[in-house]
Subunit: 377 residues, 2 copies
């Protein structure tokens, strides 16, 4: 059987307790908060004695199950190394999803390692050519979904169309947007702007046959205006844009602090603004809004920022729970089936009917390394 639950209450969320700069203390503290404050069902994956001691310290020793796994993916570890660790916390958490014991995975581990391990062990879901990492940008009145922020650096136009489908499903489930408007990141509004892949993707999306609400091209300065609900791009451009945004906000704040400090009267006013400025920076800073969701695999994978504190981990756990409860994998399946981008897409859409009538449990896959992911080494 697959990792998707058929009832309203999803299976537990598996937590990689050894991922992130502040593992396992902050990770366990965040998990406990998600359990206590939001009633999220959890499975903590990590070195059992140490994790149990942490849980005891929080006074929830017997209440949250622990699944033993010794090895952690090191923060600087590439994709290849992660393939050689079948007993890593992330690998074990993926196994829990594959065997139906967990619905989703939360990790604050290194993105490349988490992406590589979960791609290998969960596999792409039916019809999905390449997975994508969705992040939400802090726009108002509601966040904007940007994908791919780094899972797939080299894409075909058909993958960008699929990313539109993934992003649509994500905005529906995570943000409650009924009919998300999808923009294609380019370098001008006109369909003929962009590189070859983007121009072709525009053509496909504008055909109106992809089951998404295509709003045309958007540019870099539209990312934070809330002009569209979902922005689609390849994982290279998306990652550059996301980090550029973070760097620009950090620079603006640093410049502002310098300006305030340099003037005595301004300083007096600044003291009063300090709290607001901090809030603003937090709202814009990746360490707060940060993390992403790897979409397109047979199971939900939430990648929290490596610097995540307990609060960020708790948010990631709640998000993972909500996505599983909202049946994101099934929503993506339906959305992908509605796309008609290529022979590949059509064949899979056609296959789907047969597969739905048959047995969806294909059992464990032989563990041989697939071709290296683009961005994962």
């Amino acid at each position: 059987m697959t990792g998707q639950d058929t009832g309203a209450q999803p299976r537990p969320v598996a937590i990689d307790t050894m991922g992130g700069d502040h593992a396992p203390e902050e990770v366990v503290a965040g998990a406990v908060a998600a359990f206590r404050e939001h009633g999220v069902r959890l499975l903590l994956v990590g070195p059992a004695p140490r994790i149990r001691a942490e849980l005891d310290a929080h006074g929830v020793g017997g209440e949250i199950p622990v699944v033993h796994a010794e090895e952690a993916l090191a923060m600087d570890e590439g994709a290849l190394a992660s393939w050689r660790k079948p007993r890593s916390t992330v690998a074990v958490a993926c196994h829990l999803i594959k065997t139906g014991r967990a619905s989703a995975l939360v990790s604050a581990g290194t993105t490349a390692g988490v992406v590589a391990t979960s791609r290998l062990r969960l596999k792409a879901q039916q019809g999905v050519m390449r997975p994508a990492i969705a992040v939400t940008l802090p726009t108002r009145p509601r966040p904007t979904v940007l994908l791919d922020s780094g899972a797939t650096a080299d894409v075909k136009a058909e993958s960008l169309v699929q990313f539109a489908a993934l992003g649509t499903a994500y905005a529906q489930v995570a943000l409650g947007v009924e009919r998300p408007r999808v923009g294609l990141l380019s370098i001008g509004a006109e369909p003929a702007k962009g590189n070859k892949v983007v121009r072709r993707a525009h053509e496909l999306l504008a055909s109106g046959q992809q089951g998404v609400e295509f709003a045309g091209n958007v540019e870099g300065d539209d990312l934070l205006t809330g002009k569209v609900d979902v922005v689609v791009t390849d994982g290279f451009t998306g990652n550059v844009a996301l980090k550029t945004m973070e760097g620009a906000v950090r620079m603006a704040m640093a410049e502002l602090s310098a300006a305030i400090r340099s003037s005595a009267p301004a300083k007096a006013g600044a003291l009063l603004q300090r709290r607001r400025l901090r809030e603003l920076r937090e709202r814009l800073d990746s360490e707060t809004y940060g993390g992403g969701v790897l979409l397109g695999l047979n199971g939900t994978v939430v990648i929290a920022h490596g610097a995540s504190n307990a609060r960020a981990v708790a948010s990631a756990c709640v998000l993972a729970h909500d996505l599983a409860a909202g049946r994101i994998v099934e929503r993506i399946r339906d959305q992908i089936a509605a796309t008609r981008t290529s022979r590949f897409g059509r064949r899979h859409a056609a296959d789907k009917g047969d597969r739905d009538r048959g047995d969806r449990d294909t059992g464990p896959q032989p563990e041989q390394p697939p071709a290296p992911p683009d961005a994962g080494q």
Copy 2:
């Protein structure tokens, strides 16, 4: 002969008086300021009676020559249309460069139109595969050069290596950096990070045979830290990054203004900070630092921001003059000759010797539309 001067005093800078949102008034005012305050020699290209009237109004009627051209490139006009206008102000200015009457061109017209027209009429300089637009980012203690910001959306790895050469020459001439450190924009520090083209470019640049000071990969959040002097990327990613940066800074400032307005005590302090905030925004805003320089053609082309006021136009004129005086085209030629990226690059480097001994005036080129530029339609 070509448009490059052999003496220390370059030929005049040709100004497209009809390009930009505030043409011709602000353009002429800026040109007059460059002439009066910086002694820049100029040729104003535009509808002669109107431009002469503007010059008379500034009291410099007889001092700055005017070259008549009726047609302007419309702000929303694509590359194809611009090819059909051999008498546009930009086309005429290019002709002045080709015939040796001007050293450089300044236009605040639409980037796509200026790029397409000048590519067609000036041609790529010897050995240069694709031109690139260099912009400077407001880092401290000195600006960072980013290229390509939008001339060439689809590139080969060899073009990225050439962009490193173009950027090196530009940082040397425009910023006086003797040995500029060049970073390759990617999505991680490791050589294996990035898309296929970037990974290959890293390999070529890291070989140490390219005559540039390669400092490895940089990421989006390094763009504003001054970590390197030159950041190399394709025109698609560069344009997205540049606009993302502008959008993020604009959002940070808007958020800050909102925070300040929402609190009475903060407001009092804010009044005192207003001037500093405005300065900060200006320093970060493209309309001030903005504009770019199209590198790699047989002549210097400075593309000022479409919203340029007189001050921005004056800066662009001074920059164009300085680049011509610094013999940027020759510097690029030498830098390109030092790259060894491909059979193509080697062949051209070998050709160079012969060409230097021969006649460099190849006369006017037949005016047939070349293949459309990637980003230019």
